[in-house]
Structure formats: structure tokens, C-alpha cells
């Protein structure tokens, strides 16, 4: 068991390295000179040469990569070009704001999706199954940012129940979850963000429940004389691991893929930071954000894998 864990963790290292290579090279596949963004306005050729040397842009690419990697490993992501704040600070603040959304969206999605999927799976083939599955499909087929816009028009503008944008009445740094005046900013973004996970979790649960029901032990339970409800409880318990695995993956996915929803709600999270960095061509923030988000995703996947194998030793991927 311990060896498996060690193997799995060690395996993540080359993945992380590959991820860093991809992040680093993203900047260089971009058209235009990355140097442009860090240069003072009217630099002479001499100044350009000096800055090039200071940033190490005159060295060959692999060497530049290693230098960058070295700094990154010690936590130095450089300075944001637009705000001159340390990138690590920007990214960590933004990430914690997105994590707040994900922390609410995923459990909500899990509860709703699991119930839906359990119902659908238990009555597989009937009209209930079709209706619930249909609803789940709706969840994954709707452009969630569009839903967000519609929700804002309805609840913020039309009925003035909830705020339209931002995170908290005083900004994200003084966001107090325990006060409704702050917490109400969470409602619409969380609903919007939860939509796709609800659909995915419902479908996964349905498939898992339907599959477990077909297994032999269910027949055995019935033969032993258990009530249908007791049988169902067993079925649900056995389908839980698969679904929880997907839920864990969804959490990591939401952390990295929240950009559309955050743009609509101007939520100061990692996705929003990324979109700003792309627009401003703020290279250090771009690299730092993408690297952090993907490493978080890798770590989440790793944890989910390990937890899964702990819970069910049969599931051990090579």
C-alpha cells in the first residue's frame, strides 16, 4: 500500500515538470516579443540590451527555462507588470477567492446530482429515469455563462434580491462569510458554477447506481429478504466511491476552469486574473496563474486517486 502511494506521488513529479514546460513555452508561442511588455516606454538599443541581460532573455531558451524553474520552485513567480505586486501574492489571493466558490458549488452539486442520479438509476428505464436524465443533460448542455447573465438580469436587476457583480460590499479582502450582506454575493456565481457539475454528477451517479444494481450481490440481498429500501441503501453505499472520485475531480476542474463565470460576475478569482493577464499580456502573471492552477489540478487528481485506492483496493490504476 505504501509503495503504491509512493509510486503514485513520484509519478506526479514528471507530470508537474511537463506542466511547467508547457506553461513556460506558452509565452513564447505567442506572437510578438515577450520583452515588449517589460520594457520602459522609450528604451534605446542600449537600454534594451541591458534589460535583456537582466531578465536573461539573451540566454538560450532551455537555460532561461531552468532559471525560471529554479525561481518558481522557491516560490518566486516574479512581479506583475501591471500592478508591480508579487505574482505569488496575486495568484494566491485570487485562488482563495475561487476556492470559496468551488467549496460551495461542489457540495451543492454533489447533493443535488447524487439524489438525481440515485433516483434515475434506481428506476432505470422508466419515465422517471428519462426525466431526471433529461434534466442532467440540460445541465451539461447549457452555456453556464449565459445562465449567469440571465440570473443577473432576473435576480439582480429585475427583482433586486441579489447583487450583480463583485465579491462582497467591501472587496474580497474583508469578505465575511457569516454576514448575509457578504454571503449573498456568493449565491448567483455558485449556482451558475454548480450547473455543469450537477449534470455530470447526476449522470455518473445514475450510471454507477444502475451498474451496481445489476451486480450479483444485489440479488443475494433480495433473496435474503431485505426490503427494497434496504437494498437501495446498499446499492447507494457501493456506488458512492465512484461518484466521490468524480466529485473530487470536479473540484479541481472548477478551480481551474472558472474563468467564464468569474468574467460574468466580475468575481476576483483565478479565472478572472487569468483573463486580465491575457488582455494585458502580463506575462509573469500568466505563467504563474496557469502553472499554479494546473499544479492544483494535478494535486487534486492525485489525492482523489489515492483516496479511491484507499477506499477500494480493487481500483489501482497502473
Amino acid at each position: 500500500m505504501g509503495k503504491y502511494i509512493l509510486r503514485r506521488v513520484l509519478y506526479a513529479v514528471p507530470i508537474a515538470f511537463g506542466v511547467s514546460v508547457v506553461c513556460f513555452s506558452l509565452v513564447y508561442i505567442a506572437p510578438g516579443d515577450p520583452l515588449q511588455t517589460v520594457m520602459p516606454p522609450d528604451a534605446t538599443a542600449e537600454t534594451i540590451a541591458i534589460v535583456k541581460h537582466a531578465y536573461g532573455f539573451d540566454k538560450p531558451l532551455p537555460v532561461q527555462f531552468l532559471i525560471w524553474l529554479g525561481r518558481v520552485v522557491t516560490g518566486d513567480f516574479g512581479m506583475s507588470i501591471s500592478t508591480r505586486r508579487p505574482v505569488i501574492l496575486e495568484v494566491s489571493q485570487a485562488l482563495s477567492n475561487t476556492a470559496l466558490l468551488a467549496m460551495f458549488a461542489v457540495p451543492i452539486a454533489f447533493f443535488i446530482g447524487y439524489v438525481m442520479g440515485a433516483v434515475a438509476g434506481s428506476y432505470a428505464g422508466s419515465w422517471i429515469d428519462r426525466v431526471v436524465t433529461g434534466a442532467a443533460v440540460v445541465g451539461v448542455s447549457l452555456p453556464n455563462y449565459w445562465l449567469g447573465i440571465v440570473l443577473v438580469i432576473l435576480f439582480a436587476v429585475q427583482y433586486m434580491l441579489l447583487p450583480a457583480t463583485g465579491m462582497g460590499p467591501h472587496g474580497s479582502t474583508s469578505f465575511d462569510l457569516l454576514q448575509w450582506s457578504n454571503a449573498k454575493f456568493l449565491v448567483l456565481p455558485v449556482i451558475t458554477l454548480a450547473m455543469i457539475p450537477i449534470g455530470i454528477l447526476a449522470r455518473t451517479t445514475r450510471a454507477a447506481v444502475a451498474e451496481v444494481r445489476n451486480q450479483d450481490f444485489v440479488q443475494t440481498l433480495r433473496a435474503k429478504g431485505l426490503t427494497e429500501w434496504a437494498v437501495t441503501r446498499h446499492v447507494l453505499k457501493n456506488s458512492l466511491p465512484q461518484v466521490m472520485a468524480v466529485m473530487g475531480l470536479q473540484f479541481g476542474y472548477l478551480l481551474g476552469g472558472s474563468i467564464l463565470v468569474e468574467t460574468v460576475f466580475t468575481w476576483p478569482g483565478s479565472g478572472f486574473l487569468l483573463s486580465k493577464a491575457i488582455i494585458n499580456r502580463d506575462v509573469p502573471v500568466l505563467q504563474g496563474t496557469i502553472l499554479t492552477l494546473s499544479l492544483v489540478f494535478v494535486t487534486t487528481n492525485l489525492i482523489v486517486d489515492l483516496l479511491q485506492s484507499l477506499v477500494d483496493p480493487r481500483i489501482r490504476r497502473a
Partner: protein, 302 residues
Amino acid sequence: MTDTIVLDEPLDTFEEQALPATRVRGYWQSVFYRLRHDPVTLAFAAIVLLIVWAAIFAPLIAPFDPYKESIVGRLKPFGWRGHMLGTDELGRDMLTRLLYGGRVSLLMGVVPVLIASLIGGMLGVVGGFAGGRTNTAIMRMMDVFYAFPSVLLAVAIAGAMGGGMANGMLALTLVFIPPMCRVAETATTQIRSLDFIEAARATGARTTTIIRYHVLGNVLGPVFIYASSLISVSILLASGLSFLGLGVRPPIPDWGLMLSTLRQSIYVVPLVCALPGVAIFITSICCNLVSDGLRAAMGVRM
């Protein structure tokens, strides 16, 4: 329910007597059979075909010019002066824009999935069949890209390359190659160890022949199903990219871009502004349901 041959007269000739008593149905026949008796999937498949047909023949069936603006006729509701679905913020006919937009959106939905299936499928089959070091190398490479959430990767690549339709398609293709590769590799690995492959090898068949005749046929099923489920994801991702400004540039009609530009006018004609979202939704959900139906018919477990 099998087809039985009803005998009116006893069999006379040897040939007749040698016929099997029941007609054995082939794999594909059973697939089509199941589909034929699945009205829901057929209905949605018809809608998808209708959407595709409308997009292809947009220039012929569209009532107006998608680029013709009319300041006087801006943001008009349904039915105004022959504009069945109203006009947009520059006075262009919405129905026409939606039809033409469908071309772009469907293109950006299908092409990346197609290319990713080809490339990813190929890589997966090669890796799965070769096994060992090659397989490990290929799958590790794929794992690196798997490490990125798809939205993040698509936005990062499209954003780094500067946006535009081609870059968007490139970004989406790169996002879909790893999952396609993994599906193909899993299927190939499962097939590879089966007896009939050993038998084929024992008879001296070349590797390419084995792949062509035995492996591909079995891998195609899962790959096709998975690809069909990706189309809806691709359409949604592509529209998201356009919404962020990383997709096609104005004035080219595209559903995601239209959603973005119509956002400001939502107080004037809310129903008209909601239309591109409806179009994305309908296309996406139909593709999803058809994909689900195909999966059930083909008996593929993913």
C-alpha cells in the same frame, strides 16, 4: 426477438436443409435495430441533421445578408418587417446571423473533435498495441496535457496565440487529443491481449494487417461514441472562447460572440438577445442525447 424462418413446406434440397434455423444478426445490424426502435434518439438525431443542413445551406435559405446593417432597424423584436427573429444591435437580421453563426459554431465544434480523434486515436492505437516503453512514453505525454482543466488549457492556448478562429480550433484540438488517445489506448489494450489476436499473429499476419482488420474495428466503436459526446463540449468551449473575445472576430457571426455583443442590449429586446444562447443550448443538448442514444445502441460501456 430473433427472426425465425417460417416453414410452409418441408425442406427439400441439401442447401435449404443446411440453412440455420434462425437468421443471425450481425453487430451493426443489431445496432441499427436498436436505434430504429429508439424514437427519442431518432428524433434528436433528426434535429441535429436539420441544424447541420441549415448551417450548410445557410446562404441559400437565409432571408437577408448577415453583414447588412441598418441603423434604423436596430434591436427590433420578432416579426418586425419580415425579420422573423428580430434584428441585432447593428440592425442585421437575427435569423440570418444565427444560420451563418451555426456554420462557424458547428465548424468549431466538429473539426477539433475530428482532428483530435484522428491524431489521438492513432496515437492511442499505436501506444496500446505496441505496449511497453512506447505506450508509457505516449501516455505520459498525454498525462501532462491531462493535467490542465480543459477550459484553462483552451483559454491559455487561444489567449497566448492571440485569438481568432484558427487558433481557437487549434486550442480545442490540443485539448481533446489526450482524452481521445486514452480512450483508444484503453480499447486497444483490452483487445490486444485477446486470443484471436494471438491467433492472427501465429498465422503470420503483419502488424498493420492485424491492426486494420481486428483492432480498428473494435476500437472504432468507443472512439466514435466518445467523439460524439465531445462535440457538444467543443461547441460550448468554442462559444466560451468567442464570448471572451478569443474566438472569431467581428463582424463574423458566431453564437458565442453574438452573446457577448448583445449583452448590452438585453434591456431593449431581451428575447432576441437570448437567441444565440438558445441556439447553443439546442445544438448542444441534441448532440448529447444523440450521443447517449448511440452509446446505448452500440452497447459500449465507457
